[in-house]
Subunit: 124 residues, 2 copies
């Protein structure tokens, strides 16, 4: 199939729109102060992660409220969970954060060249 034509561009539009929905949902998950605090805490505890009780006491968030927030982050794959006995260990999901960062980077620096890469990263 030729990489052009009406069918092709319709497919591309659809793909782009699904992408927009997906990343908007991820941004929304990070777009609440308690959840962004959770993400920062989990990143600082990376790669071991933390158990719910410790997150709760560290951030002073009641466990049921916290559970709702963790659920939302989990739905967007921003965190991963593993069980160890009675404890659940939550970790930040590098794969998803990488995708999100990659998306923003592509939009700003690659696709539209609105921002110079050097302004974000200093890589020698």
């Amino acid at each position: 199939m030729k990489p052009e034509g009406a069918a092709w561009s319709a497919m591309k539009r659809k793909q782009e729109s699904e992408e927009t929905t997906r990343f908007a949902d991820m941004f929304a998950a990070m777009g609440a102060e308690p959840r962004l605090r959770i993400m920062r805490l989990l990143l600082s505890a990376h790669p071991e992660g933390m158990i719910v009780g410790d997150i709760s006491s560290e951030l002073e968030i009641p466990s049921s409220t916290l559970s709702h927030h963790l659920d939302k982050l989990k739905n967007e794959d921003l965190v991963n969970v593993r069980r160890e006995g009675t404890c659940l260990w939550y970790t930040a999901s590098c794969d998803s954060l990488q995708e999100l960062l990659g998306f923003l980077y592509a939009e700003c620096c690659t696709r539209n060249k609105a921002i110079e890469p050097e302004k974000i990263v200093c890589c020698r």
Copy 2:
């Protein structure tokens, strides 16, 4: 003043918490499908930007709804506006996007080394 002690760490905590609030608000602004579509469109029209009427017809969003979204993006400094006659030209704000990208990058790659910089950027 010594860069340690209770007062210093209290200040640092406060600063970190304000930062969290600020970036959470920016994520929230990008965390709605219509607004993320607006940002992508403005980035693709960068640096000229677009007038409201054209954004409205391109994205098929009624002007009053669009106006609300633009207002929210403007409140988080994610877009800039300039008037030319009766038209308002909206542009993506590179400064803010750069800050946002820088924040995410710092959290994931620098501060916590959860993600390898090379996985985001390919800089030669």
